[in-house]
Symmetry: C2
Subunit: 648 residues, 2 copies
Amino acid sequence: MINPETNQDTSLIHRAAEYTPPRSIRHLLVGRPLQTADAPHETIGKAVGLAVFASDALSSNAYATQEILVILAAAGTVAFGYVFPISIVIVVLLAIVVISYEQIIHAYPNGGGAYIVAYDNFGRFPALMAGAALLTDYILTVSVSVSSGVAQIISAYPQLFEYRVAISVACVAFITLVNLRGVRESGIAFAIPSYFFIFIMFLTISTGLFRTFTGDLARVVNPPPIEHFGEAIPTVTTFLLLHAFSSGTAALTGVEAISNGITAFKEPRSRNAAITLIWMAFILAFLFLGISFLAREIQAVPSEAETVISQLARTVFGGQGVLYLLVIIATTVILILAANTAFAGFPRLGAMLASDGFLPRQLTFRGSRLVYSYGIVSLGALASILIIVFQASVTRLIPLYAIGVFLSFTLAQSGMARRWWRSGRLKGQPQQSSTSMLHYDPRWAIKMISNGVGALCTGIVMFVFAITKFRDGAWIVLILTPLLIGMFLWIKRHYSLLASRLSLENYGEPPPYDTRHRVIVPISNVHQGTLAALRYARMLSDDVTAVHISMEPDDTEKVRKKWETWGRGTRLVIVDSPYRLFLEPLLDYIKDILSVRQPNETITIVVPHFVPEHKIHNALHMQTAEMLRRELLSTPGVVITEVPYQVP
Amino acid sequence: MINPETNQDTSLIHRAAEYTPPRSIRHLLVGRPLQTADAPHETIGKAVGLAVFASDALSSNAYATQEILVILAAAGTVAFGYVFPISIVIVVLLAIVVISYEQIIHAYPNGGGAYIVAYDNFGRFPALMAGAALLTDYILTVSVSVSSGVAQIISAYPQLFEYRVAISVACVAFITLVNLRGVRESGIAFAIPSYFFIFIMFLTISTGLFRTFTGDLARVVNPPPIEHFGEAIPTVTTFLLLHAFSSGTAALTGVEAISNGITAFKEPRSRNAAITLIWMAFILAFLFLGISFLAREIQAVPSEAETVISQLARTVFGGQGVLYLLVIIATTVILILAANTAFAGFPRLGAMLASDGFLPRQLTFRGSRLVYSYGIVSLGALASILIIVFQASVTRLIPLYAIGVFLSFTLAQSGMARRWWRSGRLKGQPQQSSTSMLHYDPRWAIKMISNGVGALCTGIVMFVFAITKFRDGAWIVLILTPLLIGMFLWIKRHYSLLASRLSLENYGEPPPYDTRHRVIVPISNVHQGTLAALRYARMLSDDVTAVHISMEPDDTEKVRKKWETWGRGTRLVIVDSPYRLFLEPLLDYIKDILSVRQPNETITIVVPHFVPEHKIHNALHMQTAEMLRRELLSTPGVVITEVPYQVP
């Protein structure tokens, strides 16, 4: 057979039909928006895109204002007035970050997460920093969002307060299960709750503003007990303001989601994604400023017992009526959705790191249900542990959260700045087409400045964050990130070493095929399963020996009798084991045989293996093959084979 | 070859040399006293036997008196006076139980635990009740002994109080590790601490008694805060006394140990064991009465902060000097030893239940280090859970403890009563030699009455216990025991069903050997490991197909090129998988082949498997064989073989 491509005889090599996943898996690709990159013919428009990618960013409104207040509370209620100015500074920061990401979207139309941008412009180490930061943040997104969602529920039903940790863990377990079982959401499943949240929050804020300007809006009735974080201080200090600002930057988390998922958009995708990003930024800014402004007006207080959102809703709508409940429900649902997006992003990033050799290779098979499950279960487990350790307190989780986000912002934007610098140096050179499509851009200087300012601002925020929140828990992240990077490098090293050792470069002539083959069948009894194993063994080789470890003379006598009938001429060796040991004498026998084997002789141990109807019954049977494998794994030339016997 | 025994030609069947465990395992048998039954030539005398078997029983002195006081405290300190009369009643009960066990020792010279005696005389169900009760009690022995041991340490070092749970769990972990790692104790390792405990307690009690009668013994100086259990009541009620009595019966736990281990004694072993039992009973009675008497004299109070033993020692020796510390150390050590004996008894009982088919069969290989480990780890884990749940409080653990002990006492003794009754009916019949050696005993009536009284008393105690302690936690045991019995029966049912299904009774003629054999080798790359798997596959059959799942066209091109060089004529099929799935297309291909296979065709899937230098690297490789096995286990005629390739 002549291969038309290579014009070579390759009759040995056949190409089978392309594998198309059945409906259920195709559906997965449609439903899981962040994976639609794999199937570019299924794209979404701006309206759905906003719903899909904005849940993470918008949901941070549920806690950002409150976290500013918690810190300010250390200086007494008088400090609460600073919440609005701080929020304005954060919105300015948001604008800077969004302008930077808008440039990333145009420069990386195939998706430009911090990991890719850092790798492309700085190389391995900064990319791994971004990777570590992002992985940590996916976990924290789940913990923080779910804890905040449960805090909303508790605001409406205070009697649930003492069960908050249990409810939060149950929520994470539920999201994990949904993701494992494969109930897939379509764009519409995101669109309804996202737009409903936007609508109800607009309604709340508009009503609140209207009532403020008509002088009709009162203070919070029966405010919950004020909670503050850290020691009380007599006066408002710069440190306190910076500290509060750091907490408020949680509002920016999730802004990068669109730049990761550009390929999900309809063409012209960069343009559509950029427009969606700007919409999202305006909505986010309006909601955040509105909530902060009104929180000050109604003199909302930070509390574990009732969220600021709840205080706001019941004050604006004058009681805990239907509208109040709708605000609580919408907020909870969008927080749960935000947690859910992390379950798509985590395995996706894992696959990127894995295909570069920094995480176990098997994670690259990202569609594979089995492998995918590991990622989902680990994410759920780690998020649950954080929730338990930090008692489902958003305030205690926040110090761990935003530092990673800002590290990745800084890396992405300084990467972009470097990119524009390099682009500027290409002036006059012919346009080249590389994977990152770097070419001369006449506006390189302004773009470099814009990304540079972004990098500088986010970098400063990161340092402010690390310093002000060091003792609150940021130190954990500062320890964890280098550890993760170390792990990535360790894994990479293992793969490189292994590849060089397995290489066929200097392998020479392989050993011949015609080797001797000896087969050993350990049997404890003679029954249908034994005979199936024996039949298989006889197919492999003519040199078959059955071995019986004799612990009870009576049993052995039965085996001996049955063998005369059913052994069909196969040699049986009986090893007496008066000490009632099983594995040890068997290994001893095998090692005796190994000690006299000839060169090029392979020994296969064929073990009968029941397949019981129910998996739980496995615990009732010796996993002989498993035990032998553990003992003999490092012995060359020994293969252990289980012959499954399905009990009829 | 002619077998001299059967005078039959059995040249097919060879008997290999008996397996003698190497020195390390022999040492295990010597060192682990409760296992010496397996090696009857290594026996112990009465003095060592007392040390070995008495630690469990004697150690209960560390808490029995205190547990009586805790209950009495509900009626105020005036009720403490009842501690001595209650102790006398308990010692009478001890006498009755010991007389009963003395008869068991003579009737069952091969070891007569409650399980064996109940099985022999009543049959399956009562035996399982005893089995369930004993397993629970082994776990509780560990929890209670360790918690009490830690309570002694805390008495001397009160600043450790808040770490008591952590210290207790660490102790259990330590004992578990010691048992896992195989640091084996000889008889002497038991003898020193046991006799030291007996000596130091004799010294304490004698000094105390002497000082009492010289009118020199004062009350406890600075007694700790009194702790009581349950609601305070105005006066001493019968219920309270029975409740206190129930708690005090904890003193009897461990008395049955000698009857389980008779075979460890030198001949005449029944006589030696019986004498040892009686010695032990006298020592136990003296220590218990002495402690209870002196506790009343010095007006010791029950407390979590300081044990009664500690109060006694510092009062008798006038301060926390060297003698005081020696008492604390001796008590702690004997409690730890008592916990350690459970680690030998638990797997031993498990083996008995397993060989009757009520627990997983693999537990019968009791010498096997691997299997043995499961039992040790489960025991350690369960005991730790109890310690955590009950906050290392002996008082809260005790209600779960003694009910099982008394259930097994009752079953063993009523079994013996029934045995004497049957023995009496054999009068005049020829003596028969069965396994249990039941024959006419002229003194059957008196023996029956003695065991009957024992059964009645322990039965009544059990009911008193269940009623007075129901709400304190005994209900847990009353639920757990039937669940355990249900599990035993469920396991038995599985084995019986399986045996009948696998039976060769009506199997007819087995299928012929000469079946077709098709081999599939999934490869992701071409390297030395792939070639090893291919070599093995070619040895199994001539019909070998390699399959490559193509996820990256570039990689596939490399595979194709290498295959032309290294494939040596073996067919390669390439399956394109644009969705980056791996397992699904492979399974799909295998199922295609299965759908066209011929009758009697077996399909073997040979998977290359790296054996990395360090086990941890396994996580970095696809466990392809494991995944295929999981998916194809229930498909008849498919065998999955891993060919290990040791990376050089």
